[in-house]
């Protein structure tokens, strides 16, 4: 729709920057942290990703909603974002799988959307000033009054949201993704039993565990590690989720106990950050984070570059470990790539021995992955299960199998 016909709507940032547009989806107000995502498709997966709780998501791609919404691509059972900002929300759904339009689904989920705004101006503002608190409203159209109410609300720093996004009771993943068939080819011989900590787990992670012959039980975020360790599982998975990792203390403690017990652990996104804390590391809030599906990550062991899917506002601080030194890797024989040398870095964790920081972001040098030999644990900051995004990093689920097979 080129000239939106919805009610007048206002998006305002905590620094007073205002964007006037038209409302779509539900009417009302939404408060949250404003962030931008550069993906050009996959808005249904974004809308239903629990890691976006309490965030007002703006898509940089101008047209959103072109293929409507369907009953298969959701990463959870409902829309999770607090608010949604786009340049143009499609007025029709063009896809043989579509069951509803974007507008209808947001209205049903009581989520406020705003369209017709200059989303690039918003993106450049967030890039320069960093992600910040914001509000979308079809009720309060006065920028200064709305901005005051935004500044009265909490920021993302120190926010523990994982438990809210989690399941309340343990459940068999097969209820969601079907029972695991015993693998046909030999390499996948045994079916492993995996316990997955749910800090806001994305559904495609369960599908990929399933496809890699992992019979998985999903546990609530605050489950004590001892319960899981007593469950006779072959490995533990630490899921993605919203909020500040440093504030998710129960997750850090569980990770610590699991590492000490020596059970194989695989962490993604928040799970990676919790594991890093457990191994003596620390996390920091990034200026505006990585949210998109085109981030290049290099594996210093193989030298391979993969295009990966991201959704995180925090990252692990490689400088937090004091005892550190660069070590040889596949990249060592050629000159280091642009900027600082992209090398594997070995650090000493208190009690778990050497931790290798082995995956880095080629755009800005952010740490994207680590591995701890002794603790039989590894994790990545990005999303190998994709949904949305490229499938380059899916092989990490095989690595988890190998870790369990050799445990």
């Amino acid at each position: 729709m080129t000239h939106p016909t919805g009610p007048d709507a206002l998006l305002v940032l905590e620094d007073g920057t205002a964007f006037r547009g038209a409302g779509f989806g539900a009417e009302g107000e939404a408060f949250g942290e404003a962030v931008f995502n550069t993906g050009m498709a996959g808005y249904q997966e974004v809308l239903t990703d629990p890691s976006y709780r309490r965030q007002i998501v703006s898509m940089t791609a101008p047209h959103v909603g072109n293929y409507g919404m369907n009953d298969e691509d959701g990463e959870s059972d409902r829309v999770q974002v607090a608010g949604f900002a786009v340049r143009e929300a499609s007025r029709r759904a063009s896809s043989w799988r579509a069951t509803a339009t974007l507008r209808d689904r947001l209205r049903e989920a009581a989520v406020v959307g705003i369209e017709g705004i200059d989303t690039r101006r918003l993106t450049l503002r967030l890039r320069e000033a960093g992600a910040m608190r914001a509000a979308v409203s079809t009720v309060d159209l006065d920028p200064s009054s709305l901005a005051d109410r935004v500044r009265a609300g909490p920021g993302m720093l120190g926010m523990d949201l994982a438990a809210d996004a989690s399941c309340s009771e343990p459940y068999e993943a097969s209820a969601v993704v079907g029972t695991v068939k015993p693998p046909d080819d030999s390499r996948m011989a045994p079916v492993f039993r995996v316990a997955a900590f749910d800090f806001g787990i994305k559904r495609n992670i369960l599908r990929l565990l399933h496809e890699n012959a992992c019979d998985t039980v999903v546990f609530p975020a605050r489950t004590p590690a001892s319960d899981v360790l007593a469950g006779g599982f072959d490995g533990v998975f630490l899921s993605n989720g919203p909020g500040d990792p440093a504030a998710t203390t129960y997750g850090i403690e569980a990770a610590g106990e699991l590492v000490d017990a020596g059970i194989p652990v695989f962490g993604i996104c928040l799970g990676h950050q919790l594991l890093a804390h457990a191994l003596g590391g620390a996390t920091y809030k990034m200026r505006f984070g990585h949210r998109g599906v085109n981030q290049p990550v290099i594996d210093t062991h193989t030298g391979r570059i993969e295009i990966t899917s991201h959704n995180h506002g925090f990252a692990v601080d490689p400088e937090a470990w004091t005892d550190r030194e660069a070590i040889e890797d596949a990249r060592s024989e050629g000159p280091p790539a642009q900027g600082d040398p992209v090398r594997a870095t070995a650090v000493e964790s208190p009690g778990s021995g050497t931790v290798v920081l082995n995956r880095w972001n080629l755009n800005d040098g952010t740490l994207e992955g680590l591995r701890c030999e002794r603790a039989k644990a590894f994790s990545v900051q990005y999303h190998p299960e994709a949904a949305p995004g490229p499938h380059d990093a899916r092989h990490l689920f095989d690595s988890f199998r190998d870790l369990m097979a050799n445990a």
């Binding site: 550069t38 498709a41 101008p62 340049r87 896809s95 043989w96 755009n363 949904a387």
Partner: protein
């Protein structure tokens, strides 16, 4: 790992002349490759026959061979230069085919030349459909069901197993040539026949038709370490069945869910790995069923293609430049991203805008050929436009086409009338035609639903609805007075992609009134940036597009800015020669201390490479958009004279709006463009010009024609490429032509002038600083006046004009230049007859022959003109060695240079191939040799017309030409040709002692000439037209020759030139020489052989015995690009 140092020199093969299906996108890619490889310290040897390209400029390679791109001539260059490696993937299909032929002959191994960028196996697996199908099956990638056939019977058998409809795809042809959809056995028999003829190995694939499915293309890149990325996804608005080159397309894909897109991405990466493309760019094509999402892979091109040029401009990721670096060993993470400056090439661009491409056709130039879009590509050019929404980009793309009648809801213009005559738009939509998106809007306006229109056109409902939203915006404005329009409604109309021109039509006002209303309400576009990363990183390179949004990103400038207006889409009559002039002006003005601002809408050109100028605006070349750029940049001056007719025609409106025009002023431009005023100026200057007059009606035309005497040429002014122009021999035909000319451009009167039959046509390009003139060259055309200068071959030095004739011509040009106060470039066309030099027309702008003259004489005319535009005098430039001290020496070059036109008749079966005053060639080639015959033969060979060394020649000429064929045909007989001729011609030849076997005419039964040609018994056809129109014997002979690919000569001068060419071939055309070597010899000849030329980089290799010294030319002129500091500044 870093660049390979096991190779020192690299041979790059260009793509030759612009032809349909392979246009100037390869000049863009080839130029980027040469620049990058030289920056990496390699010695670059280039072979390309196209003089109009930037890459064949001497400063872009160490040794440039302007030679035909054939295996034979490339082999000669290899034997001379002994390169270590050959890069075949940047010259389109032509370069790839030549590389494969050389590799398969074993000569590359013998001479130690390694293929880089693509291995022979990889190319074979991609190009040979049989190997491709096998590789895809092994990789588990889905293809449409298919079977091979070498005869029509085999084709029919395969079709029976697959079920109709099927598509016929000939092996090893370009641009879908010879392919077609067959709904039943009868059509299959015909199409298979054509396909088998078009395929060099007489093989076609008969394939399950998926016509009507959605069509997608992915541009992928892979480095030597198997890191692979997708640069751009492109969705075709037109369904499968319309060739991607003839489809409206959009980047990024708009209607794929993430699951469907990632499945396609996995398949594309698996495809390039299965084919074995080691390094570089590839284009992979898919079809997706709109009903159940079934995806099949259609084809892949293991090289840079038309789509990669589009993808590079749509994303800001320079695919060809990166492909060249990957070919010499770099990996993606070792190459910086120029635009962000911080990140690397190892990533996938994210777009926060929409890019739309629309092809441009020239069906009106080929009456008789069917104007239906099909699996065979026939568009001659394309435009791209960028907007923040699809509708905004589509609206901007439409006005970039520069076809006033071709706007949405043409509202009262010719296209609207043609649409009015369409009773049922839904039926009209079933057959894809040039105006189908206008038909979509019309059907929606008539009340049909989106679903109905989508079903009829097989265009995705999302795109149909977007066109619908533009129609709604137009409806909200139609019929309202401009003054009563609320600012909100006007802003909404602009955000919906409506041009000022269309809003003016809808509101019954003028374009400038709409502009004034917008300025009053402060509804002005802002300019945002193409930054490869959707705003995630700051963009260092100012590559902008306009959009109706809130914040602009134009940075204040440090130096005075000069805006250069480009030439817009390629079309017949306005090709890349004008882009050449714009690019050189950008280089020269940057060196002279200005900040250059390029404005253009053509994605295939070097001018829209963000490296070429300091700032690039990818914008339509209309007053509305150019004025918006001028408002943002506040330039010191705007150059309107380098981009051909488009910017020139806009000059008056820009000046009226207060924009400072550099060079020849608007008053002089109007005199030159207005035949009436120009006629009276020539009369005042007592310069002879054909008798002429103007008329606005048939009656007036008849009285004028009586006065000046038949035959007359009738034409509209202000139109380029001679459109709607023809020669009229009597009053009956005059009526028809006057009406047609008025339709082409209703506002301007029709002009008639005496047709000088049998005159020698002459073209002159010159630079003038208001007083002093530098004559670039006087070019003598081979065809007589009456064949458009763009379709005729021309020669430097002029072979038959005496020195005093040249003096008269030069002084005429000087007089005109001073009278028009020309500053910058001037092209004058004359016709010499009975010792009188009549002036036909003067164009105060760059002409098509600027690059040809610069290459033939070694003098960079466009650069000199740019410096004159920036205020320097010719005398000043001579003192600083930037202009030759005593002329270009064109009269006495140590070589002969011929420019030949390339005609697309093969693409338009049924169109008559007779040449006339209306230009129809799409591109040009250059032949250089020691003598005229050698140069002619090379030019013809480069144009794809390989003159036969022997065999049978069929001759059938008009009575008036019978006398003049005796000598040349006799010469052919002496050389051993068997002469066949129609009865009349045969008897004249026999009487003159030339043995000729009589052949029946079509009207006399068969076997007639057309039968013999089709059977392949004739190697050369000479046929001058008796009269015109499709039913004459000549028409069947000429169209048969075009179909069979037999050279057909339709004029006596053309025959004489061809005979000289054949004689040269018989003598052997001698060793190829590089442009750099020839220009050194020219410089020495001009300087009386004094001293040796010494450049900043001694020429290694075979020409080492001679080094280029300062001599006449300043080394700066022949410095390597970017070699000495500065990014790409020459």
């Amino acid at each position: 790992m870093p660049r390979r140092d096991d190779i020192g020199s690299i041979l790059v093969i260009g793509s030759g002349p612009i032809v349909i299906g392979q246009a100037c996108e390869f000049d863009y890619s080839g130029t980027q490759a040469c620049k990058v490889l030289r920056q990496e310290g390699y010695r670059v040897v280039l072979v390309n026959s196209n003089p109009a390209t930037i890459m064949t400029d001497p400063e872009f390679a160490d040794a440039t061979y302007v030679e035909p791109i054939t295996a034979a001539s490339v082999l000669q260059v290899i034997e001379r230069e002994r390169p270590d490696a050959l890069l075949p993937t940047l010259g389109g299909q032509t370069a790839l085919n030549v590389a494969v032929a050389l590799a398969e002959s074993g000569v590359l191994d013998r001479l130690g030349v390694r293929l880089v960028g693509a291995g022979l196996d990889g190319i074979r697996r991609a190009e040979d459909r049989r190997l491709f199908v096998k590789a895809m099956d092994e990789a588990g990638l889905p293809l449409p069901r298919s079977g091979f056939a070498h005869t029509t019977d085999e084709a029919l058998a395969v079709a029976d197993t697959l079920g109709y409809p099927v598509i016929v795809r000939p092996s090893f042809t370009l641009g879908g040539r010879g392919s077609g959809l067959a709904a039943d056995p009868e059509s299959l028999a015909r199409i298979a026949g054509e396909g088998l003829a078009a395929s060099p190995i007489t093989e076609v694939l008969v394939e399950e038709s998926v016509a009507g499915w959605k069509e997608f293309e992915l541009e992928v890149m892979r480095d030597g370490r198997d890191n692979a990325v997708v640069i751009c996804s492109i969705e075709n608005v037109d369904p499968m069945g319309v060739h991607t080159g003839d489809s409206v397309t959009v980047a990024p894909a708009m209607t794929l869910t993430d699951r469907e897109y990632q499945a396609m991405r996995d398949a594309a990466l698996a495809c390039i790995r299965a084919v074995g493309v080691e390094t570089g760019g590839s284009n992979v094509q898919f079809a997706v069923s709109p009903d159940d999402g079934r995806m099949v892979l259609i084809e892949m091109n293991p090289r840079v293609s038309r789509s990669s040029a589009l993808a590079s401009k749509a994303t800001g990721f320079p695919i060809a430049k990166i492909a060249a670096k990957l070919a010499v060993g770099f990996t993606l993470d070792e190459i910086p991203n120029d635009i962000t400056g911080e990140t690397l090439a190892a990533f996938e661009p994210a777009l926060d805008y929409v890019a739309v491409k629309i092809p441009r056709w020239a069906f009106e130039k080929f009456p008789g050929a069917e104007a239906r879009l099909s699996t065979t590509m026939r568009s001659v050019g394309e435009v791209m436009a960028i907007g923040r929404t699809f509708a905004e980009a589509l609206g901007k793309a439409y006005r970039s086409l520069e076809r006033p009648e071709f706007t949405f809801g043409a509202d009262g213009l010719p296209a609207q009338r043609t649409l009015d005559e369409v009773a049922d738009p839904l039926a009209g939509l079933a057959v894809a035609g040039e105006h189908r998106l206008l038909m979509v809007e019309r059907a929606l306006a008539d009340g049909h639903s989106v679903e109905e229109v989508a079903a009829a056109s097989r265009i995705d409902p999302w795109f149909v609805d977007q066109v619908g939203s533009m129609a709604e915006a137009a409806a909200s404005v139609r019929g309202r007075a401009l003054a009563t329009l609320s600012p909100g409604r006007l802003r909404a109309a602009k955000r919906a992609g409506l041009s000022d021109r269309r809003i003016a039509l809808l509101t019954g006002s003028r374009e400038r009134d709409v502009r004034a209303a917008r300025r009053h309400w402060r509804i002005e576009p802002v300019h945002k940036t193409v930054d490869t990363c959707a705003g995630e990183f700051e963009a260092r390179t100012p590559y902008h597009y306009s959009t109706y949004e809130e914040s602009t990103e134009v940075r204040p400038a440090t130096r005075p800015r000069i805006v250069i207006l480009g030439a817009g889409p390629n079309r017949i009559g306005q090709g890349i020669e004008f882009d050449y002039a714009c690019v050189h002006a950008a280089f020269a003005l940057r060196e002279a201390g200005f900040e250059t601002v390029m404005v253009n809408s053509n994605p295939e050109t070097v001018s829209t490479d963000y490296d070429t100028s300091d700032r690039l605006y990818f914008e339509p070349l209309t007053a509305e958009d150019v004025l918006a750029v001028c408002a943002a940049e506040r330039p010191a001056g705007v150059i309107v004279q380098l981009g051909g007719q488009t910017p020139l025609a806009m000059a008056a409106e820009l000046a009226r709006a207060g924009v400072p025009i550099l060079g020849t002023q608007v008053a002089s431009i109007d005199v030159a463009e207005d035949r009436r005023k120009f006629g009276s100026l020539l009369a005042d200057l007592r310069i002879p010009t054909p008798a002429h007059g103007t008329a606005t009606s048939v009656e007036e035309a008849e009285t004028v024609a009586e006065r000046i005497g038949y035959p007359v040429i009738v034409r509209p002014s202000y139109v380029l490429g001679g459109r709607a122009m023809d020669i009229v021999y009597g009053p009956e035909d005059l009526d028809v032509f006057v009406r047609e000319a008025a339709a082409a451009n209703p506002d301007h009167p029709v002009f008639l002038d005496r047709f000088l039959e049998g005159a020698i046509e002459v073209d002159v390009d010159a630079v003038c600083d208001g007083d002093d003139v530098l004559i670039g060259a006087v070019m003598e055309h081979i065809e007589e006046a009456g064949v458009h200068s763009g379709d005729s071959s021309c020669v430097i030095p002029p072979p038959t004009l005496s020195d005093d004739e040249l003096d008269v011509i030069e002084s005429t040009v000087l007089t005109i230049a001073r009278a028009l106060a020309v500053r910058g470039l001037l092209n004058v066309q004359l016709a010499i007859r009975d010792d009188v030099a009549y002036v036909i027309e003067a164009n105060p702008r760059a002409s098509r022959t600027i690059p040809f003259v610069s290459k033939a004489t070694g003098v960079p005319l466009a650069k000199i003109a740019a410096l004159v535009l920036a205020g320097r005098s010719l005398a000043e430039l001579r003192d600083r060695g930037l202009a030759p001290a005593n002329g270009t020496g064109y009269r006495s070059l140590p070589h002969v240079a011929v420019k030949a036109a390339v005609l697309p008749f093969g693409r338009f079966p049924g169109a008559d191939t007779v040449l006339g005053p209306e230009m129809r060639s799409t591109g040009e080639v250059m032949g250089i040799g020691e003598d005229l015959g050698t140069a002619l033969a090379k030019a013809q060979e480069g144009a794809g017309v390989t003159l036969p060394a022997g065999g049978a020649v069929f001759v059938s000429v008009a009575n008036r030409d019978k006398r003049s064929i005796v000598l040349p045909v006799g010469r052919l007989a002496q050389m051993g040709f068997r002469v066949l001729a129609t009865r009349g011609t045969a008897s004249v030849l026999a009487r003159a002692g030339v043995p000729a076997e009589p052949v029946a005419k079509r009207s006399e039964g068969s076997p007639n000439a057309a039968d013999l040609i089709e059977a392949g018994d004739v190697q050369l056809v000479i046929n001058t037209p008796f009269g015109r129109g499709p039913r004459t014997d000549g028409y069947f002979i000429r169209t048969a020759a075009a179909r069979a690919g037999v050279p057909c000569i339709t004029t006596i001068p053309g025959l004489v030139a061809a005979v000289q060419g054949i004689e040269a071939l018989a003598r052997g055309s001698g060793e190829p020489r590089s442009l750099q070597f020839r220009q050194l010899r020219t410089a020495e000849a001009a300087a009386g052989g004094r001293g040796s030329a010494r450049g900043p980089r001694g020429v290694a290799g075979s020409d080492a015995d001679v080094t280029i010294g300062s001599g006449v030319l300043d080394p700066a002129l022949i410095a390597s690009p970017g070699g000495e500091g500065g990014k790409g500044s020459t």
